[in-house]
């Protein structure tokens, strides 16, 4: 009996280890499943529930925080994921790697609801997209979901709007020299966004040589070479004196709580913050800016392609699109006409206290997509140089006072270690003496 119990315990412990491995023993479900992998806080969860009950499909929903994390988890070719919602450059990378399935538009009834300006711009910008040596249209691979710009949020009670707009990206370097702004600027701790701001700042302040200056914006922003990198690095080192910190996700709160007065932000976050604090405003500097979009795409090894198409189509329904937009605060890729044609979608806007004309007239929410100054940032096939540059920027920053503190304390530290070694040796010697 004792032996039996012991074996039972051992088996139970081993099972515990195996469950940790997520061994799916009973994955034979009768209902269709759909594995959706989306940004965190990037959908109205009620809409998913509605989709589940309407189509009798069980949605297994998981989230990621950055495109890079998403790309890492897709490295596992066997990962059970059907639908993903990455950003433009991540989509590009996946398409080039031949990981995405072309969408069968004949099975979608709502695709005409999508703002065609977006697909046009995307196709024009990714004109050289090739998969297995065959030219491809980017828009064949995804359904646009949300879009926005990258710009600057600032507090109008500290910075005059005209001064801010005049300063452009320079506001992040405090070029207007506003003393209250010093150490109250937030910079995004994101290699791509930072590089973008750095390059635009250099262009704006005329620090770029002619070779770079004569490049069209859409090319310049996707260009990386050692000279440009070192110039951007210098600019960021110069920025050290004025910024408060490199923020990961507390930027919105810090701006709303007036712990910071200016920062680099995505338009959706900016709109969110502006609703919480009236004195905040947002602009994309006049020299130009980044426009981005996220879209739904289907993986090649998806097992549930029919369900995935149903989900995509569902997401493009005007009422669902507006519900998602309301829930997360970003700009939906649904066209204005499609929303206006749907009574339920208009009701949702009204429920959220939006005037329809004002909603679509807001240039922060709906920028002019065709504007050539708004450029798309593509995938840098090799991130390592950028990452190294950004790390060098973050590593420097030892001012003399800190250096003295560090030296003094390390001397103390070394002293302690020497003392310790000295004592050990002494003890050993005395022991030897005793032994002798």
């Amino acid at each position: 009996m004792k032996r039996f119990i012991a074996i039972l315990i051992i088996v139970a412990m081993s099972v515990g280890v195996l469950t940790a491995l997520n061994v799916q023993i009973g994955a034979f479900a009768a209902v269709d499943k759909l594995y959706v992998y989306n940004w965190g806080d990037y959908i109205d969860m009620d809409a998913i529930a509605e989709f589940e009950s309407e189509f009798n499909i069980d949605v297994v929903y998981s989230t990621f925080d950055t495109n890079e994390i998403m790309l890492s988890s897709l490295q596992d070719q066997q990962a059970q994921i059907d639908l993903i919602c990455p950003s433009d450059y991540a989509l590009q990378r996946l398409i080039v790697q031949d990981r995405l399935e072309k969408i069968d538009f004949s099975k979608l009834s709502n695709y005409s609801n999508i703002n065609s300006a977006i697909t046009t711009k995307v196709d024009a910008n990714f004109a050289d997209l090739t998969v297995n040596n065959a030219k491809q249209k980017m828009s064949d691979y995804f359904i646009p979901y949300m879009m926005g710009t990258v710009g600057i949020v600032y507090n109008t009670s500290v910075i005059d709007p005209e001064v801010a707009y005049e300063a452009g990206y320079g506001l992040l370097w405090n070029t207007p020299g506003i003393s209250k702004l010093n150490r109250k600027i937030l910079m995004k701790d994101s290699v791509r966004e930072a590089y973008l701001a750095g390059v635009f700042y250099l262009k704006e302040s005329g620090k770029l040589s002619d070779t770079y200056n004569n490049m069209p914006l859409s090319e310049l922003i996707n260009y990386v070479d050692d000279t440009l990198l070192s110039q951007v690095e210098e600019a960021f080192k110069e920025q050290h004196k004025v910024i408060s910190s490199y923020e990961v996700d507390f930027g919105k709160t810090d701006l709303v709580n007036e712990k910071a007065y200016a920062g680099l932000a995505w338009s959706g976050d900016a709109l969110w913050a502006m609703e919480d604090l009236d004195t905040l405003d947002y602009y994309v500097p006049k020299i130009g800016g980044n426009i981005w979009f996220d879209g739904w795409a289907m993986l090649k090894n998806s097992q549930n392609k029919e369900s995935a198409l149903k989900f995509m189509d569902f997401m493009m329904r005007p009422d669902i699109a507006m519900r998602n937009a309301m829930a997360i605060g970003y700009t939906s890729c649904e066209s204005e006409a499609a929303v206006r044609a749907s009574a339920t979608a208009l009701d949702i806007l009204e429920e959220n206290d939006y005037d329809v004309d004002e909603f679509f007239g807001d240039s922060i929410r709906y920028p002019d997509i065709s504007d050539p100054l708004l450029v798309i940032m593509k995938d840098f096939s090799d991130d390592s140089k950028l990452v190294a540059m950004w790390e060098r920027v973050k590593t420097t920053g030892l001012n003399p006072v800190n250096l003295i503190i560090i030296i003094v304390s390390s001397v103390v530290g070394v002293g302690i270690i020497i003392l310790v070694i000295f004592l050990i040796n002494k003890k050993k010697k005395s022991r030897r003496a005793v032994a002798a």
């Binding site: 004792k2 491995l21 790309l71 290699v191 390592s384 990452v387 790390e391 304390s409 390390s410 530290g413």
Partner: protein, 273 residues
């Protein structure tokens, strides 16, 4: 053929019959766990360090040296690690020493462990808000404060265990023989508490270098430790360089372990935890 099968069968039977519940059997699940979650990842890490674009190369090592940032970060991290560890020792030793003398020591040690029950992210975030409320600028100073605050229990606990295990009669004998209390401390207590000190140092130094969340909350603009660097590398799918950096961390752990064992040889009170 038939005999062969019966042979196997009887062997199997004897094996099963011979199966005894010895103490080591209970370790099997743990061995399984360890090989899956400790040994296997290490092997993958080692393999990754020598692979770039699917080929065996040493380029990850040269990339690490060439990009300039990582080695700088490493030396900076070691510096921060040394400072944090020495501060922890400077603060922790007297505390542990006094606590081992007091009869109420155990209760007060509990007070030191109590904050550890709160998730360290919550603690660190609260520290950040306190600094902001006090108007203190975030930087190296606040980072080191945060690190010391977070890791000091790991210094105090082993020290307290060792110090309270030292036989009081040693120091009593020393003072009976006329030794000054300082001499007693330096010649008796300090050398005898060496295992605790070493264990404390290892338990603070290595985690400090590989920290990455605390720097993001408390570091301001100037702090970027080795852990952050590894994190960034893996986030951007630079697995090769990231693995090399993790191996460096591992080497540091092994080196400190080696020294700990070497100095600890023959000492009592090895089972501190």
């Amino acid at each position: 053929m038939k005999t062969y099968i019966t042979n196997i069968g009887s062997k199997l039977v004897t094996k099963i019959k011979g199966f005894r519940i010895t103490r080591s059997v209970f370790a099997y699940p743990y061995v399984l766990f360890m090989s899956l979650f400790v040994v296997a990842p290490l092997v993958i890490l080692l393999a990754n360090a020598f692979i770039s674009n699917g080929q065996f190369t040493f380029s990850n090592f040269s990339d690490l040296v060439r990009d300039g940032a990582s080695l700088k970060t490493l030396s900076f991290s070691i510096l921060v690690g040394i400072i944090t560890t020495s501060l922890c020792l400077l603060i922790g030793y007297p505390v542990a020493f006094i606590l081992s003398k007091w009869s109420s020591g155990r209760l007060i040690v509990l007070l030191f462990i109590l904050p550890m029950w709160v998730n360290f992210l919550i603690r660190t975030l609260s520290t950040r808000y306190m600094f902001e409320a006090l108007g203190i600028e975030l930087g190296i100073g606040t980072l080191i404060f945060g690190l010391v605050y977070n890791y000091i229990p790991f210094m105090i606990l082993p020290l307290h265990t060792t110090l309270s295990n030292i036989d009081k009669s040693y120091s009593e004998a020393a003072s009976d023989l006329g030794a000054h209390s300082i001499t007693t401390f330096l010649k008796i207590t300090l050398p005898l508490s060496m295992p605790g000190i070493l264990s404390g140092i290892t338990m603070v130094f290595i985690p400090t270098i590989s920290t990455f969340a605390i720097t993001q909350f408390l570091g301001g603009t100037s702090a970027h430790l080795f852990g952050d660097s590894i994190n960034t590398k893996f986030e951007h799918q630079l697995y090769g360089v990231g693995s090399v950096m993790s191996l460096i961390m591992l080497a540091l752990v092994l080196v400190s372990n080696y020294f700990m064992r070497k100095t600890n040889r023959g000492e009592a009170a090895r089972n501190l935890w």
